[in-house]
């Protein structure tokens, strides 16, 4: 093997590396389409809806002190979003805890769609019981957005994690990645599906179907960019928790009255 001097090796290696690295400058050539990608400052035309996603930042509160497990939210969501049979965009779990050291018993019959039966076989000595409604948390550092190989899972400027139905290939990686089990592959549309905070409603000033259906104001939805928003006050003044905080996903769904047993 020919011996190369250190100087020559460095010279050649740097030449190759810098030549390749200069390709990274290409997006910044002004006037090219890729400049738009790099700067992400393309202003949308007023377009179809006149809705500006950058002017909003949505957030959600679940007040676990109030949930009665009626399942109205699950029913409303299913009706609003064409959710097929055995899947859920949102669901309700019931926790029944007895001894402090024992794990709580958790059940969710049909996701709470028809309410909960009062008698639960095999559970006794219950000293603490409550309902926990769950859904996609629209995390600020969403694992599902990170892992999508096709870029179909994305987070909109107003804080909602959505699925691009044209680019989704239903590989299921996002379904695996979500720690809250909020995603699933829709057998009818054949793409990944999940709670969208009823984006088609909230962008028109309506509330998500689940929030509207809840009879006890357990579920509350709001816009943190709106100075008069009521849930903004709650988040600033009351003690809230999130599901699985140790995973550092930064969920945007905040729980009041969260217990240690909630998984």
């Amino acid at each position: 093997m020919k011996i190369i001097s250190r100087r020559h090796f460095l010279r050649d290696a740097l030449t190759i590396i810098l030549t390749g690295a200069s390709a990274m400058l290409l997006p910044f050539i002004p006037g090219r389409k890729m400049a738009a990608v790099a700067s992400s400052r393309v202003r949308p035309e007023p377009g179809l809806t006149g809705y500006n996603p950058r002017a909003h930042r949505y957030s959600y509160i679940m007040d676990l002190h109030r949930c009665i497990g009626c399942g109205s939210c699950v029913q409303a969501c299913n009706r609003e979003n064409n959710v097929p049979g055995r899947f859920f965009r949102t669901w309700v779990e019931r926790y029944q805890a007895g001894a402090v050291s024992a794990r709580a018993s958790i059940d969710s019959p049909s996701g709470g769609l028809f309410g909960f039966p009062s008698a639960t076989a095999g559970v006794s000595g219950v000293s603490k019981a409550y309902f926990v409604p769950k859904m996609c948390n629209h995390c600020s550092e969403a694992p599902c957005v990170q892992v999508c190989p096709f870029g179909a899972s994305f987070k909109s400027p107003d804080g909602v994690v959505l699925v691009d139905k044209e680019r989704c290939m239903a590989c299921g990686y996002c379904v695996q990645a979500c720690p809250y089990a909020a995603r699933w592959i829709n057998p009818i549309t054949r793409v990944a599906d999940k709670c969208t905070w009823c984006y088609h409603r909230t962008t028109k000033g309506l509330q998500p179907a689940c929030v509207q259906a809840c009879p006890t104001q357990t579920r509350r939805f709001g816009d943190l960019r709106d100075p008069y928003d009521s849930i903004k006050k709650v988040l600033e003044e009351q003690r809230v928790g999130v599901l699985q905080p140790h995973l550092l996903t930064k969920p945007n769904c905040y729980y009041l009255g969260l217990d240690k047993e909630v998984r």
Binding site: K2, D12, I16, T19, G20, A23, L26, K33, M34, A36, V37, S40, V42, P44, G47, L48, T49, Y51, P53, R54, H65, R66, I68, G69, C70, G71, S72, A76, R79, E80, Q96, G115, F116, S118, V126, A129, Y130, F131, G151, F154, S156, P157, L162, D164, K165, E166, R167, Y199, H200, R201, K204, G205, L206, Q207, A209, Q212, A213, P215, T216, Q217
Partner: protein, 172 residues
């Protein structure tokens, strides 16, 4: 270095691949995904597609009020006043055809009736919320249905609750 031809070939191949990728990507993004990058690294059109989905539920009592003024007025100040009509009935779209923006205009002339709104009479609807359970908050009105009916000396039937309670003014 004496023999450098092989190095130049290597460099050129790498550069060629890079240029091919860049040009190909620019062309593909420009033609197949023109809205890419509008709000972020995804199709801006995907956002609009999501917005354009069909709205099925109305906006609560403010949607029902314009036509059913008396019902909604009776409803206020009663125990169920905070509940959305569609929770116990059915989504608005089963009853009227509406362009969702019109909800806010709350002008009954903009709504076109398409069908009968479902009216629930079954006891099971009431039980879902009001059957007593340890998991429900203590301050929520709940009864053990069997005990309640025994106390009231009423026979159980499919719509037994309606015999005494009016869902729009449920307290007795």
């Amino acid at each position: 270095m004496v023999h450098t031809k092989h190095l130049w070939r290597a460099i050129l191949s790498i550069v060629f691949v890079i240029v091919l990728y860049v040009v190909g990507r620019v062309l593909i993004v420009q033609f197949l995904y023109p809205t890419f990058g509008e709000y972020g690294p995804y199709r801006g059109e995907a956002l609009r597609e999501e917005i354009a989905l069909e709205v099925r539920h109305g906006s609560g009592q403010s949607s029902c009020g314009p036509c059913h003024r008396d019902k909604v007025a009776d409803f206020q100040e009663k125990a169920h006043a905070s509940i959305n009509c569609e929770t116990c009935h059915a989504p608005l779209i089963t009853h009227v055809q509406f362009d969702d923006v019109e909800i806010f205009l709350t002008n009954p002339d903009n709504f076109k009736r398409t069908g009968q709104m479902e009216i629930q009479q079954a006891r099971d609807l009431c039980i879902r919320c009001h059957e007593s359970q340890p998991a429900k908050p203590e301050d929520f009105p709940q009864v053990d249905i069997v005990d309640h009916l025994k106390e009231m000396e009423v026979e159980n039937s499919a719509d037994v609750c309606l015999g005494c309670h009016d869902p729009h003014a449920p307290s007795i």
